[in-house]
Symmetry: C2
Subunit: 447 residues, 2 copies
């Protein structure tokens, strides 16, 4: 049991809302501040990528009894559907029988999470902008602008759940010895969509995550409950084939006709959406420390924003809350110890999933169309199926287990080194399913 | 020739003052803003490390005809004096005959640079705090506090010379796709001093940079013109032997008695200064882009703050100005092109000297007391003396040449790899000066 605290959460996104539910379950008074309007009352922006809920996310929802509510909003995807140019669609199972990732629209999920947090007794203060935090006191200052008169709120604890461009972190960053980095990739993204058939059914297989890999760019599509798909085009900002090079409707038309002829006509209002929807940037943010004594801590993207290519951003943020809860149960009112252990445990995992997500962009966009890469995956899968206790594929370890991300990265690197050696074996194309290859992997695993 | 511009420089430190001189020589109107008081009217803080002016710094001063004035403030140091515990002092020449680095007190140099910039016609606005920059317009906003009423200044160009914690960069950082990192090392530093003998002479050899290497910490001393030495203690913040572990005068006494018995009694007011002077942190800052169209650019530490272990922070900043001047001469009024080429050329060099400076801490504090490292240096020196055109030592390339830092890093890495192989030769301790070793290095250089 914990003594009741007056808690502020800055940010009403997915992680902030989930944290509000957790803290209300423990009996704390919870106020959630957001500079933006209530997402339930406005149209959701045309700049989001569908979410892929997986094991870590579900576990965190289950703990506070809201898993079933959320399951109703999600569609299970059990495989990748690879649309390699001029080839038939190729399917790859994500995991074992029954293992799937779950496609959810960010807008729909966020609205539901806020509903649930409100039902749990959290107060939401939308369109109230937090400009400053007095860290030693855990006071918040809000106002219309940075220079207007501010209102002071006294809290016992402040949680920064305010995303990649966190104001709470911005304040922490002014401390000496605060390490920080923001690194943007040279690729941007744009939301597009495929509408439902007139009968409400999906135009593509709705149990698949669809990918059109094209080297240094790609298109993806994830299904929604209403029969539509949310598509995301990932493309370099500058260069020969880039957002910069597509200036007119004719350019857009030619680009899709050349690179995505099989899906071009299915994309709704392609030329209109392409120019209406913003081109968004992607950033990896790392920092440390995440906490300030027993007063302040960062959760989710504000502590560890990552690029979206492993579908783990929300899952990692939800797992933060799950871990924070474990520490609360262990240490009760010792908030400094709670925050200290939370950041020590989570920081290396945040770094690991950042690295894995960054690497996965290269893998998804370029390697998935490479025959040697596909062969490599086939060898790995065959071995993993035959020796499930010796070889869990990296994707499964990240997505379907709750072992730490840093362990997944470490074991994944070991597996990569082994597979590098295997792929060097003479005539591997022909003997990939031989006993010799299997034995070679076993030998490596035993050294 | 350039059309006359109205230019603001934010920051009246060494780099800002030098830039003011350059821009005045070109006939521009120059206003220098600084949030701090005029350094000529206040006592200089007890938190600076003496500067080591070397070739790049002198070259930039020479170009605007102020080299001779500054030479008068500097003492040439031609060698390191290594004070390894329980051993006689060991001297290492920095370079060839006549090559030296020059010790200057930061306070004395900064005051002189401001005098020179004022003489050149620059206006200095001290204790005027810049809070915001309108980047597309090149307007500055100053005021007593961040929230007070601000004064607007209209300029044509703004230069951010406002150091590691630059406000100008802070504004640029809010742009999307601005890459940024700040990384603090776990070692802090504290200024101490050794006063002159009663007759005004130095208590230690005054043509040497003195180092007391002690593993993961060290003390250094650099001479001043008045017979004193400015000392700097570099020590981890936390841990067994750390600033944290020295809480009382007794602790300080014991620490110096144990680790620096030969110099302890020479340090003036040791116990008083140790607790009066602040413990400062050291940070590496990287960012990109440095410029905003034809309006804004960053110079010196605001673009590339580095740790002080190569003595290149000021030299790198001065070289920025020298390069900027080259671009001005090449492109005249095309400021966007000037800024673009400046940042493209300087960014990799900023990254290279950051890396070299970081590595040099390890080398200075721990390796300089390692016999194998000293042997390695001896082999390298012997070879370099015999084959001066084939082997310029890394330190000389950084300090006494004006070839780029990135080239120095690259060639330095190649030399390191060769020396790694040489040090693996059997019985190297005995045959280090043999023809076999010389031939081996020649062979490596030719592959």
């Amino acid at each position: 049991m914990q003594s009741k605290k007056k808690v502020a959460i800055v940010g009403s996104g997915l992680v902030g809302s989930l944290l509000a539910i957790y803290l209300r379950r423990k009996g704390h008074s919870v106020s959630v501040f957001d500079r933006r309007p209530d997402v339930r009352k406005v149209e959701f922006s045309g700049r989001s990528i569908n979410l892929a809920m997986s094991n870590r996310g579900w576990k965190a929802l289950r703990e506070v009894g809201v898993e079933d509510e959320i399951r109703k909003l999600a569609l299970p995807l059990e495989q990748r559907a690879m649309h390699v140019k001029d080839k038939p669609v190729y399917y790859q199972k994500y995991g074992a029988e029954g293992e799937a990732i779950y496609s959810i629209s960010r807008g729909i999920l966020n609205r539901k999470m806020i509903d649930l947090a409100e039902e749990a007794g959290a107060e939401f203060r939308f369109e109230e902008k937090v400009w400053d935090v007095d860290m030693p006191k855990a006071y918040l200052y809000t106002g219309a602008t940075e220079k207007s008169k501010w209102k002071e709120y006294k809290f016992d604890l402040v949680f920064g759940a305010d995303g990649a461009f966190s104001r709470v972190r911005h304040k922490m960053q002014r401390q000496s010895r605060f390490n920080y980095s923001q690194h943007f990739i040279d690729v941007g993204y744009k939301e597009l969509s495929i509408s439902a058939n007139p009968d409400g059914s999906h135009k593509l297989n709705n149990a698949s995550f669809h990918i059109w890999p094209r080297g240094n760019f790609m298109l993806i599509a994830m299904p929604n409950l209403d029969g539509s798909f949310t598509c995301t085009l990932f493309l370099p900002f500058e260069g020969d084939i880039s957002f910069e090079s597509i200036q007119t409707e004719k350019d857009a038309d030619l680009f899709f006709e050349t690179h995505f002829p099989d899906i071009k006509d299915e994309i709704s209002n392609l030329k209109k959406d392409f120019f209406k929807n913003p081109t968004s940037a992607m950033v990896t943010i790392k920092c440390f420390p995440w906490s300030y004594f027993d007063k302040i801590t960062l959760v989710g993207d504000s502590a560890h924003a990552i690029v979206p290519f492993y579908g783990q951003g929300m899952n990692a943020g939800f797992e933060d809350i799950w871990v924070l809860n474990q520490k609360m149960e262990k240490y009760g009112d010792d908030w400094q110890q709670i925050f200290e252990e939370y950041q020590t445990e989570r920081k290396p995992n945040g770094d690991a999933i950042a690295e894995l997500s960054y690497r996965n962009f290269v893998e998804m966009s370029s390697k998935t169309a490479d025959p040697m890469f596909l062969l490599r995956k086939k060898i790995e899968k065959k071995f993993a199926d035959a020796h499930p206790h010796s070889w869990t594929p990296l994707y499964s370890r990240v997505t379907f287990s709750d072992k730490s991300y840093s362990e997944a990265l470490k074991i994944g690197d070991r597996q990569r080194d082994i597979m590098d050696e295997v792929m060097k074996m003479p005539d591997i194309m022909n003997k990939w399913d031989s006993e010799e290859v299997e034995q070679k992997i076993l030998n490596y695993l035993n050294t």
